[in-house]
């Protein structure tokens, strides 16, 4: 039996992010280089200090706007010499790059791992609205492991699956649209204080309720907004991290478990992977949910943020609707500031690492007008359905 939990030997030392465009005129690689070089400099490192590269989901070798740049391409572009590098979709969701990078450092393979995530769905949708459709993941008949069970029934977007999770949550727990709205409204309020956010005009409850119904009970404002952006995080071995520019933010605990089928309809409709992930993360730390000072929780669709609140024990199971009601608890000055940069709903669908970037900005006191009260423990989680990963971050 191991007597150490090795993620505690790894810290975040630098963060970077490109412009967040809707769309951006910059190429996917230029966005990526902007984010990565900023993160390396922020860590007080140079290019030559980076000896590992990680990414989720990596390059699909088809120019896909969901992930146009993978570790191979970035390695060449920046001239990186590495001991280890890796990407790929099959992992615990959008934080998988971080989780893999942590493991690469903890196992002694690397000292400083550059983790990045680039997405260009906005510019691609300028000329192909169907670019993200589930039916476009395969040519001809659907031969995919997962999607063939949904596309024949005209599930063309993930929103249809998320909507069924929301419907079940409404049914089982009495959650209402007005409660769900608080995720979107909170994100929009926070986005107004984030100069990079895509949507910064005020949103009222009426605006939310009158927004177009996409797939009951989810409306347009329950769905995140496509953008072109890249985000990068530098992970460092803890003894290396102490010499950096920033106070190291330790990886106190990670969650990556999936104790159910990898499927969008064979898993718990109200828990997804998130509850498995939360249980694992809290089993790896002495900290408790009450210690968390800010939360950056995946809001690709608003219902997923609600599920994460419950999965991570930030509110009781089934109580997320009542917890967010009125919005006070999750406001910047509330007991649990949530998605403080506007999340993906209003900030932009940076898809995963944007949450980590914001968590670190808050822990380092760099969040400017949206800065919340000083705290040293933050939680971030990303994914929906069978995708899920979480990080508990501590600034010592």
């Amino acid at each position: 039996m191991f007597d150490r939990l090795y993620e505690k030997d790894v810290a975040i030392t630098g963060i970077g992010q490109s412009e967040v465009g809707r769309p951006s005129q910059l190429s996917a690689m230029r966005l990526t280089a902007d984010a990565c070089l900023e993160a390396i400099a922020d860590a007080g490192l140079t290019r030559d200090d980076i000896d590992g590269v990680a990414c989720w989901p990596g390059d699909n070798n088809n120019g896909d706007s969901f992930s146009p740049v993978g570790p191979n391409a970035l390695k060449n572009a920046l001239g990186l010499n590495v001991n280890w590098f890796g990407g790929g979709y099959e992992g615990p969701g959008p934080l998988a790059g971080i989780i893999n990078g942590v493991m690469a450092i903890a196992s002694g393979m690397c000292r400083n791992v550059l983790v990045f995530r680039t997405i260009t769905e906005s510019s691609t949708r300028q000329h192909n609205k169907q670019a993200s459709a589930l039916t476009n993941k395969t040519q001809g008949r659907d031969s995919s492991f997962a999607w063939q069970w949904y596309t024949p029934f005209n599930v063309l977007s993930a929103v249809n699956l998320m909507a069924m999770y929301a419907q079940r949550h409404f049914h089982d727990y009495g959650t209402t649209s007005e409660q769900l709205a608080q995720i979107a409204l909170t994100c929009r309020r926070n986005a107004q204080l984030n100069p990079k956010a895509v949507y910064r005009t005020p949103m009222s409850m009426d605006d939310y309720m009158q927004s177009r119904m996409i797939s009951t009970p989810l409306r347009m404002f329950d769905c995140d907004v496509h953008c072109d952006a890249s985000t990068a995080i530098v992970l460092s071995r803890r003894d290396v991290a102490k010499d950096g520019r920033n106070p190291p933010i330790r990886i106190e605990a990670m969650g990556a478990a999936l104790n159910q089928p990898w499927s969008w309809d064979q898993i718990s409709l109200t828990e997804g992977a998130a509850f498995d992930v939360g249980r694992m993360m809290w089993a790896r730390t002495d900290l408790k949910p009450k210690d968390v000072g800010s939360a950056q929780l995946y809001d690709g669709f608003s219902i997923l943020t609600m599920i994460w609140l419950e999965a991570l024990g930030l509110c009781p199971v089934g109580e997320s609707g009542r917890f967010v009601e009125g919005g006070q608890r999750i406001a910047l000055d509330g007991e649990l500031p949530l998605n403080t940069n506007g999340g993906q709903l209003s900030g932009g669908r940076t898809h995963g690492l944007g949450y980590v970037h914001e968590a670190c900005s808050q822990l380092w006191g760099r969040a400017d007008k949206r800065q919340v009260a000083d705290h040293n423990v933050a939680v971030t989680a990303a994914g929906g359905g069978p995708l899920g990963g979480s990080l508990l971050l501590v600034r010592d």
């Binding site: 005209n154 419907q167 797939s215």
Partner: protein
């Protein structure tokens, strides 16, 4: 409405073509007696290879649903109902399908449904109506 059809394989063919004989064929393990879906050559519960398609009643209930309003493509005829149907044979034995034949706003969680098949090329789609 147009539909993207699945590529047929030795593992999934029974599910997608059982409707030709008006049968909903779901994989079942003869070692542990559990049904499972999607079909696979090995039982996910006990890892036995003694598995194969077996006709089920085709009756179940709506575990969850959504009314899709978004016109993703010009050919779609929204609104239409996507549902996760749980079959009566076993708790959590379920799959995504469509509910047809009643006003979309009449669909609710727990509603009893039964299968009917719609042929598209060499696929018999298991769709559901109110039972």
């Amino acid at each position: 409405m147009p539909r993207k059809l699945p590529a047929l394989t030795g593992d999934n063919r029974a599910f997608w073509q059982g409707g030709e004989n008006n049968e909903l064929l779901i994989h079942r393990c003869s070692a542990c007696t559990r049904y499972f879906h999607p079909p696979s050559p090995v039982c996910p519960t006990c890892n036995s290879f003694e598995v194969g398609p077996q006709a089920v009643s085709g009756k179940g209930q709506v575990a969850s649903f959504t009314i899709n309003h978004q016109p993703w493509t010009p050919e779609l005829q929204e609104p239409f109902v996507i549902a996760i149907v749980e079959l009566e044979e076993q708790t959590d034995l379920r799959f995504v399908s469509n509910i047809e034949g009643i006003p979309v706003t009449d669909v609710h969680i727990g509603m009893p449904v039964r299968v009917h098949f719609q042929q598209e090329d060499d696929v018999w789609l298991p769709l559901f109506v109110k039972d």
